[in-house]
């Protein structure tokens, strides 16, 4: 330690922290915030973040000031402003650990989003308060008008930051509308604009954290539609990475500082700080929850509150703020020491013990194995129904505003900000996106994807499904059934997308589930017995999905893009990996099926979609496709099903691209249902002729 200076390397100055280390962390939080659940709970989140932080800081500050008056501790020279400043620093909670624990314990999603949002926003609030208080400490005398001005400044800073952020978000979205020629540097625009928002906000002395968060929020929705799939992935990964790097670096410095700085230890002050931090956090959560529970549909119960209170770890922000305290504060070293102690204590002790505690107090539901099968099925059905009806009726309390905003969004914003704005049905858009992501993911994984493998296996099993129903059921059978039901029934739609951890990209398990459902309904429609039954089922229930076999879901094919250069490039990007790996030597993990079988599988299912598709891909699409498919069949010998499925998708999109550039209105005429012959196998010769 003597070869280097005793002081930590002067890298972590105020400038460095605020200009370089904080923005990535905040950008990460803002970019991956689940917007819809967040806005549902925005009241609660802001309540906890703003009022909670205020409560904490003022409470801790006041009580510490009271402690300071006691002579025995020898800290009488710390005045009120400095105490308040210190309290602000240590009231910035960082509930990272509690988030992951909540996820595992599958706590209710409302709680999750509130904690997540609080974590994000109190960073902003803390920084604002900090700058306000540090400004105040430099003033010799504080008058009431200053307090009032302080509050006003707080509002201006906060709201101004938001406004700036939104403005920059729109500009960024608008820019990405034109970036089709420069795909490779698209991510740069995202980072550039966010950072620019941050810097400009700093310039005007308004809250830069709010600016960057709001910029990320606004930008994300439009940008992810405009940029290519690869840029999207790049952006997500880089944002996550930068955030994680920043945070890690800050903790590095924490360690270094702990060892090298000259500490000023004061038992009384530090211990009381710990105590008060804990008490005020608990009290704060309790009181705030009591006040806001009547306004919430799902109130927080005691266990939730305990989780929130105990999960109030202090983290990177506290440390950085402590370290950048102005030097004119006499007891700076004491403050730094106290902050470090708090951080270490909360992170290690509370962080480690929170999981067992939460599991302990979480009373497990009684095992309902004694229920009948009927009840289990019915319960789940009812839960799905409830979720469905809730969706039907719209779930937002601020529904009116959302509706207004969506109309505004669709009419004006989307037209301006998106490159090709078609009034796509949300379902079609969703499935298109899912399929695209799935195709890319299949590429990324060396072995087959989960959605491919079971389809092979179950397909073969379904062939021999003509067993007679048993008359008697043994107890073991019953237990099996219960197991099957509980493991395999689709989960109810979660209103919030839960994140596995702060350091993971949003998981799309539910999306996967939807895809799997689609694939399974494709498979079921392939069963030979179903072709006959389809005839009568189709007319009646053609509009509905998730109905008996033989029904497949809405149009799987992306609607024809307007012929434009950029669209082609997008598609060619998707097609490119296909081309590249088609001639590669990939073996799939699933069973290798004979090739002629594959042909049947693909073509029948693709025709399936044509038959059932509501929006109706045009007949042209169906005709050109088999050409390419057959071409592929002959070309490759050894591809597994995985590749075939992917190639098919890719080829579909290519085919649609290469079609003559006749511009088509987005709402193309749906194929009249009666014209399509029910038996797809008969259709093939027709295509041959028209070729």
């Amino acid at each position: 330690m003597y070869s280097v200076h005793e002081k930590p390397p002067a890298v972590l100055t105020s400038n460095v922290f605020f200009l370089y280390m904080l923005p990535p962390i905040v950008l990460d939080s803002g970019y991956f915030m689940p917007t819809r659940p967040f806005f549902e709970n925005v009241g609660t989140v802001l309540w906890f973040a703003v009022v909670g932080t205020l409560w904490n800081s003022i409470g801790i500050g006041m009580s510490l000031f009271a402690i300071c008056q006691i002579e025995a501790f020898g800290v009488q020279d710390i005045n009120l402003q400095e105490n308040l400043l210190f309290a602000t620093i240590i009231s910035a909670v960082d509930p990272v650990a509690v988030l992951s624990v909540f996820e595992d314990v599958s706590v209710n999603e409302q709680l999750y989003i509130v904690v997540f949002g609080e974590c994000l926003f109190n960073d902003a609030v803390t920084v604002v308060l900090y700058s306000m208080f540090s400004f105040v400490t430099e003033m010799p005398v504080v008058e009431p008008v200053d307090v009032f001005l302080g509050v006003a400044r707080f509002l201006v800073v906060g709201l101004g930051g938001m406004g700036f952020g939104v403005l920059f978000g729109f500009v960024a979205a608008f820019t990405t509308r034109f970036t089709s020629k420069v795909r490779e540097i698209e991510p740069l625009f995202i980072f550039m604009y966010s950072y620019l928002a941050y810097l400009v906000a700093e310039l005007f002395a308004i809250s830069s954290i709010m600016a960057i968060v709001c910029c990320a929020l606004t930008m994300k929705y439009y940008v992810e539609e405009n940029v290519s799939q690869r840029s999207c992935t790049t952006i997500r990964h880089v944002v996550k990475m930068l955030g994680a790097i920043s945070e890690t670096l800050i903790f590095f410095f924490l360690g270094v500082v702990t060892i090298t700085t000259e500490h000023e230890w004061n038992w009384g002050y530090i211990l009381f700080t710990l105590l008060f931090a804990f008490i005020w956090r608990g009290l704060g959560i309790l009181v705030l929850t009591q006040i806001i529970n009547p306004f919430r549909t799902i109130p927080f119960n005691t266990k939730d509150q305990f989780g929130m209170a105990y999960g109030g770890l202090r983290g990177a922000i506290s440390f950085a703020l402590a370290f950048t305290l102005p030097d004119n504060i006499g007891r700076k070293h004491l403050f730094v020491t106290a902050t470090i102690v708090i951080i270490l204590f909360t992170v290690f002790l509370q962080g480690i013990s929170i999981r067992p505690l939460i599991e302990f107090i979480n009373v497990r539901r009684t095992n309902r194995k004694t229920d009948t099968i009927n009840i289990e099925i019915h319960t789940r059905l009812m839960e799905h129904t409830m979720a469905g009806i809730e969706d039907l009726c719209g779930q937002w309390s601020h529904y009116y505003w959302k509706d207004k905003f969506m109309k505004f969004n669709n009419r004006i914003l989307r037209r301006i900000l998106l490159r090709d704005n078609r009034a796509e049905s949300s379902i079609v858009a969703l499935y298109k996106k899912l399929e695209l992501q799935n195709a890319i993911e299949i590429l990324d994984t060396a072995s087959g994807d989960i959605s491919a493998a079971p389809s092979i296996i179950s397909l073969q099993e379904e062939k021999k499904n003509s067993t007679k129903p048993k008359k008697k059921f043994l107890a073991a059978d019953l237990k099996n059934m219960h197991d099957i039901l509980s493991k395999n029934m689709y989960k109810i739609r979660e209103r919030t997308v839960s994140y596995t951890s702060k350091h993971a990209l949003p998981n799309d398990n539910q999306r996967r589930e939807i895809l799997i459902r689609r694939h399974s309904s494709i498979r079921r429609s392939l069963r030979p017995g179903s072709f006959q039954t389809r005839q009568q089922i189709v007319p009646k229930s053609q509009k509905y999905f998730s109905l008996p076999p033989g029904e497949s879901l809405n149009s799987r094919f992306p609607p024809t893009r307007q012929s434009s250069a950029d669209a082609q490039e997008t598609m060619s990007e998707v097609a490119y990996p296909g081309r590249r790996s088609r001639f590669g030597n990939r073996s799939s993990s699933g069973a290798m099926m004979p090739l002629h079988r594959l042909g049947t599988l693909k073509e029948v299912s693709s025709v399936d979609f044509l038959n059932e598709s509501e929006r109706g891909s045009t007949g042209r699409g169906s005709q050109s496709r088999p050409q390419s498919l057959r071409h592929h069949l002959s070309a490759d010998d050894n591809n597994g099903l995985v590749d075939e499925m992917r190639i098919r998708q890719v080829e579909e999109e290519e085919e649609e691209e290469e079609r003559p550039q006749a511009s088509q209105p987005p709402a193309w005429a749906a194929e009249p249902r009666d014209e399509t012959p029910q038996n797809p196998l008969l259709r093939r010769p027709q295509w041959n002729e028209k070729k």
């Binding site: 549909t297 059905l381 009812m382 009806i389 109905l547 879901l553």
Partner: protein, 191 residues
Amino acid sequence: PVSAAHLLRLHERFDFLDKDGRGHLRPEDFEEIRELTENPIGGRIIAAFFPPEKERLDFPSFVRILAHFRPIGKNRSRDRAQPEQANSRTGKLKFAFELYDQDRDGKISREELLQVLRAMLGLQVTEEQLRSIAERAVQEADIDGDGAISFDEFKKVKKKEPQGLKPAEKTNFCHVWFLRSHWRKWTWSTR
């Protein structure tokens, strides 16, 4: 017995769903709701609103069906001649029954149960297992041995469920959220 505020809210929603301003809803409007499409039984829910061969849903029918989800009414003093209230326990059970019974023949056959199971279960379950589950379910409920579950048998099954495990959630005073909280009450009251 739906309050004026509730009706207003529902009307707003009706207007929102009815994008072309036609004054009535069609199945396609429901399909616009993204979450509904992701729901495994979304199709059935939509079908519950549209009786067979009926393609239009006007506002009164919309409200009537949603009235199933209100809490069980306390106004028992009405005369018996009135048809079954939508939000009575029987009314709710009937709604649930119709989710299973798609062809409206008054019975849940094994096939229909199988279809429900297929919709709700994942890939890893084989057809054989599904069949045995459906068979078992029918066996448990079928009293008269006709191989299908009638409405009365359905009611009996539901009666056997363990009674309310959790106290019903406090009714929210804000009428805008009435549906949500009342649905939960309903679930627990029918368990």
